[in-house]
Amino acid sequence: MPLPCLRRRLVCHRLSLLLLTLLVILPVHGEPARVVTLDWTLAETLVALGAEPAAVAQADAYHVWVGEPALPASVADLGLRTQPNLERLASLAPERILISPMFANLGPRLSRIAPVENLALYSPDTDTWQEMRTLTRRIAALVEHPAAAERLIADTEAALARQRRRLPPSPEPLLIVQFMDDRHVRVFGENGLYQAVLDRLGIDNAWSGRTNAWGFSLVGLEALSGIEARLVVVEPYPVGVEAALADSGLWQSLPSVRDGSMITLPPVWSFGALPSARRFAETLVTALTEHGDDHD
């Protein structure tokens, strides 16, 4: 075979190899993996994995209630979480639809559009942190970013460990609540996001009462009385609640309110996964340490 010909063939070969790699790489980096999800917890995990979903249900409400990590503007809105717009979903031609067990009844219909993955978090009687890691790995495998999962898990755990080092050796117990109205709060305990974070940070949760399957219990304010703990209020406050609390004898007599050590945290998605966990840990520890300094 003459040399030039061979060389040409070699060049051809290399070119085609290059083309092939380009073809393989481009869809991964240039285009988002065509995964859609109805669940905000799955959505935040996808974004954190660097595999932005093509569409999310109630994207505008996600900005309000989850916020970080932010959805890119390119993410399409599917309509209500409980009733995503099927026509729109079909026209987006997703490769995969991720749901949580809450939307299981939609499964059969959605599976006509694309394969449906039902991913659970906060299952009863499981270690929440382990479950979050498993969830992250499963999602990453589905979008073919397995390395990203390990990175996200390692980053999050390192971040939490860093936060833990900022805390005193035996931090005081906390009581984490979110106001429903001026008389009722959700208090967070077993089997929830906040509990999982507190465990990693080595902080005790002062709430020992029972909680529902989503890790909280709805109680009247009087249930907080008599618990020796520093109060952490997760925002937002409903309208008028702060004013009403100023008049509430019981609230004003809570030790943490009386000595001004109560902490208020910006909103975090209470049913989130690793990204929400990290954000909660960082804002919590920052508030605890800053506040502690003022306090002393």
Binding site: L80, T82, E87, A90, P101, M102, M180, E222, S225, V239
Partner: protein, 659 residues
């Protein structure tokens, strides 16, 4: 007004005494858990270092005070309403005041939160007064007849409830606090609420006392009352104004508390108290004690549960069976029926009108199928990949429209009552209770499970209805009032379930909002087939349907076995309603509106009335479903709600004429 065996003069006093003993026992048991002297002392002051005494002072005692105040206030409002309207079933909850207040607060939370800072009670008051005004507007021309008023109240309750559901569907996170409030919790954390409520109730009480003598005149009939020189209109307005004010104040502080306002005055009356002054006194006392005792009981029970059991909804749930027991014992004033003769002008050519409607329905169906918004804007398409999603919904909408319209026509003719509708029988409510139970008790239930649960619930409700009314010969008013009780139970169950804030509540809300969303093609075909079959099945009964509205004596003299006819039609209505409920949920006012619109258009004979209503029902639902999918694209507004809004507006507009 009533004739029961319970006529002993001391009866209300004895009842109250029994409740006082029960209350003291329960409260004493709770207080005895710590040192009694300290616990009693905590009423006046709390020692800041002692958590136990803090809870007593700031939560337990105010809660007891609040339950007494709220119970008394609601019972007083109930007596006033019942006296003014001469209607033993009038109450803050039955007249829509509570649901009006609820909706107003929801709307204010979303649209104008500033209003809530100005004063929650005024927002609640405005909503309540608006709802009641609507009830009166609906019933004015029927002379505010008791049964009609209560049914109109129920319609308004359902309508406002539906609006509330949709606000919730789109804004569940923002409204979660109001769900707790809507279920009526008495939890307290200071004396400020009690201090707010007490003077307002005192003002209401004094005003009621001043109105006592003139109001007693209302026991006479209108003519005699007028001859005594009383301005009836102003008197009624004043009486109702006080009642709404009392309700609004209570509701704005502790939320919606069902049943007390209805039950306390009726129990006192059944116990043999006749004079208005005595009824006001004993009802107020009994209401206060009833709520306080229930609340103490609940506190004992709910301490160990992971979620709060709201008192207001629980009293309503516990009260529903009592209401079922109460209804046959109430003597409802019968007034000469006016409206049924006015079954509208007959259209000259109903056949041609029906044909026009059929063409309109077909045209709407074609548009709904082919035209729609996509991510590229408005498009016309005949691509099966798109139609695949639209066809089931179209069929389901049309089918359930027909089912509900036929059911509505049957029940309105059966009861000779233009306010009757399938929802009001309670069948939808019963099937909804079963569905809620399935969603919450079973792990990840599929659609088939839900359908089975819903059917079971509908059948069970029907069984209860038939069993309760077996002796009264299925008298229409009794039937409808049993439905009121079942619907009250459903409202209570819904409120309790949603108040807990469980994320599965979203699924309940989505289903309750009345959407064709969950229907796939086989189900849609089944609905359409059922609509067609049941429509045909109703044809043999058109003779009964022509005669029944003329009244029982006429029907009997024409040789109709009333019991059998009523039971047969009732079964048919139940079947129709159950089928439709499973598809579009319990709330869609097509069953109320379509028969009306058909009558207004001039379909008078039963056969044409059925056909006209069915066509209008189908048209309304198809248009509603399509509009719902387009208006807020990509979010979808449930068809049932759009139908209610479209039809409801038409309904109110039609009020300018006699119904």
């Amino acid at each position: 007004m009533t004739t029961t065996s319970l006529t002993r003069p001391r009866a209300p006093a004895l009842l109250c005494l029994a409740l006082v003993i029960a209350l003291l026992g329960l409260a004493g048991a709770s207080l005895a858990r710590q040192d009694l002297a300290t616990a009693l002392g905590a009423l006046f002051h709390a020692s800041p270092e002692d958590a136990e005494s803090l809870v007593r002072h700031y939560a337990w005692w105010p809660r007891l005070a609040m339950s007494l105040l709220a119970g008394g206030g609601l019972a007083l409002a109930g007596v006033l309403m019942q006296q003014v309207l001469r209607n033993p079933l009038a109450a803050p909850t039955t007249l829509g005041v509570a649901s009006g207040a609820n909706l107003a607060l929801m709307a204010a939370t979303l649209l104008a939160p500033g209003l809530l800072l100005v004063g929650r009670e005024w927002v609640a008051l405005a909503g309540g007064a608006g709802a009641m005004a609507l009830v009166f507007a609906l019933t004015w021309r029927r002379g505010l007849a008791p049964v009609v008023v209560v049914l109109a109240g129920l319609v308004v309750n359902l309508y406002f409830g539906a609006l509330g559901m949709v606000l919730l569907l789109f804004h569940q996170e923002a409204l979660k606090g109001l769900l707790v409030w809507g279920a009526g919790s008495l939890a307290q954390n200071g004396w400020s609420d009690a201090a707010f409520l007490a003077p307002r109730l005192a003002i209401g009480g004094v005003t009621a006392w001043l109105l006592l003598r003139p109001l007693a005149v209302l026991e006479l009939d209108d003519a005699s009352a007028k001859s005594l020189g009383v301005s009836l209109k102003h008197l009624r307005l004043a009486g109702l104004g006080v009642a709404v004010f009392l309700t609004g104040c209570v509701v704005s502080v502790v939320g919606v508390i069902g049943f007390i306002g209805l039950a306390a005055p009726n129990i006192v009356r059944l116990a043999g108290t006749r004079r208005l002054g005595e009824r006001v006194l004993w009802s107020t006392l009994l209401g206060a004690l009833l709520l306080a005792t229930t609340d103490q009981l609940l506190q004992r029970v709910s301490g160990s549960l992971p979620t709060l059991i709201p008192t207001g909804a629980t009293t309503a749930a516990l009260g529903a069976p009592l209401l079922l027991w109460l209804i046959p014992r109430l003597k409802l004033e019968r007034r000469p029926d006016v409206a049924t003769s006015a079954f509208g002008r007959r259209h000259a050519a109903p056949g041609r009108l029906a044909a026009t409607l059929a063409v309109a329905a077909m045209a709407a169906a074609v548009v709904a199928l082919l035209v729609g918004q996509t991510h590229m804007g408005w498009t016309v398409t005949d691509d099966w990949a798109v139609l695949e999603w639209r066809l089931p919904r179209l069929l389901a909408a049309a089918g359930s429209g027909v089912l509900l319209a036929v059911a509505g026509t049957l029940i309105q003719r059966l009861t000779a009552n233009p306010m009757a509708s399938p929802e009001i029988l309670g069948i939808s409510g019963g099937s909804a209770i079963a569905l809620i139970a399935a969603i919450f008790l079973l792990p990840a239930p599929g659609n088939l499970t839900l359908v089975l649960a819903g059917t079971g619930g509908a059948l069970a409700t029907l069984g209860v209805l038939v069993w309760l009314n077996r002796h009264s010969g299925f008298r229409p008013e009794r039937l409808l009032l049993s439905g009121v009780a079942i619907t009250a139970l459903f409202d209570a169950v819904r409120a309790i379930v949603l108040a807990g804030g469980d994320p599965r509540g979203q699924q309940v809300i989505a289903w309750l909002s009345g959407s064709t969303y969950y229907v796939d093609l086989p189900a849609a075909l089944a609905v359409a087939a059922a609509a067609l079959l049941l429509m045909l099945a109703s044809q043999p009964f058109t003779r009964w349907l022509d005669i029944l509205p003329l009244g029982a004596p006429t029907a009997r003299s024409l040789g109709i076995g009333l019991d059998r006819a009523r039971l047969t039609l009732l079964l048919l209505v139940a079947l129709l309603t159950a089928c439709a409920t499973l598809v579009v949920g319990p709330l869609s006012f097509v069953g109320l509106l379509a028969p009306h619109m058909a009558r207004l258009m001039g379909f008078t004979r039963a056969r044409m009335h059925l056909a006209g209503a069915a066509l209008i029902g189908a048209l309304l639902m198809v248009v509603a479903d399509w509009l719902g999918r387009q208006l807020l694209f990509p979010q979808e507004i449930p068809a049932g709600l759009v139908a209610s809004l479209v039809g409801g507006s038409y309904f109110l507009w039609g009020l300018r004429r006699p119904l």
